[in-house]
Subunit: 266 residues, 2 copies
Amino acid sequence: MAESLEYKLLYWPQIPGRGEFIRLCFEATGVPYTEENSVPELQALLLNKDDEGIGAPHFAVPILGVRDSNTKTTGGIEHYISQTPAILSFLAPRLGLLGDANKLQGFERDVAVAQINQLTLTALDLNNETHDTHHPISVSSYYEDQKEEAKQRAADFRANRLPKFLQVFELALGPNEVGLDRMKEGALRMWGSKTTVADLTVFQVIDGLQFALPKCMQKLKDSGKYKHVFRLHKEIRAELKGYLNSDRRKPYSDGVFRHYPELDDE
Amino acid sequence: MAESLEYKLLYWPQIPGRGEFIRLCFEATGVPYTEENSVPELQALLLNKDDEGIGAPHFAVPILGVRDSNTKTTGGIEHYISQTPAILSFLAPRLGLLGDANKLQGFERDVAVAQINQLTLTALDLNNETHDTHHPISVSSYYEDQKEEAKQRAADFRANRLPKFLQVFELALGPNEVGLDRMKEGALRMWGSKTTVADLTVFQVIDGLQFALPKCMQKLKDSGKYKHVFRLHKEIRAELKGYLNSDRRKPYSDGVFRHYPELDDE
């Protein structure tokens, strides 16, 4: 019998944060999911052993709960998975987010899946480095207590790191011989011509950076060096319009993406 | 026809670094691989488009080159994959590094693979946070130019972050009801009773930390709180003895794991 999965996203309330990368997969594909945002419920799962199966303890949220309603017909969640890239790798084939890789088989498909994973992981690295611009010394201390170090790290991030990441995304999207072939088939995407989990992840990081560092991002956009990256952002924003205009889309505030003018360009 | 893959690891010369996580997979399983350590060759691949296939551009090494000698009988590498977790996910099923997950099928197997991936990613996060103890402000600047900030970040890492990571590994390994069942079958491993890619990754991070922060790690070992983590390190070290004593094992120096006494406990 084919699996029939029920999904629950467990993440902090109020901020989009790393939970948003998972949420976008469901919202982009229309696959139903529920959420658990109760802080005590989440804390009970963190740093605790899942004693019901072999399982694996969770360092941090997001956590994905899954249940196969064909095999587990009563009770709650059957399994929990954490670590954003592990959740995305589990979901991508189930939610139809592997794009043109689905045309391939065996070894060739596995290579394509690995390359989509590679691009997704690179976007998540950019997300992590964005976080560290405002918390370069300690995640458990206040921003105000590491503000001077944050200014230094943000300056390096804007000058060196962010352009290097955007260059990789631009190369993945850009018009070379392969890209021109893809243009004939339709949209340019991070891998092939159809939206994958890598596109959703890059969209979310670019979107958050435009909130956090609006002046820097405008300069990078105006440079013309990353025009396919900004076009991808615009196209995915259009694909996700219904969700982004709903109250399910949480506003940026004090999560990964924070707007501190002193960390932005002048 | 079953695939017949040739593997090439592309990584910087001289340091174990992130390449070591890939290298250990081959060394632990005896699967043949070659290496490319020429800096100009690596730089030609980084931040460049692979024009031969759709491919995906690479932000950083390690990069894995693969070739199926059944379908590509002449010429060099067929495909390149980068991002350590993407490479490990590609290799684990091919190299027999999914342990007891191989006893499962379908949905249950995919959950197990995701949980092994989750634990591997958590160990790689610890690797990344170790790196940032000596480079909290800028990866492209010298340690000496961010030494004061490094002392602050390292103090937070030793007090808060490192114990939190070790707690997750200890929970994964430790003797609860599930653990006791596993004890009967043999060794305690991160997921089940057989060595997976998660065990190799945790081994390498613990090993590197013992070089970088020997006093801090000795205190944590003496605390008795993480005895299964240190036992895993010892057991995997024994499994890898032949490799670790060979000249293929590069010494720690100025990579991720660096020994600066001023960043260690007193």
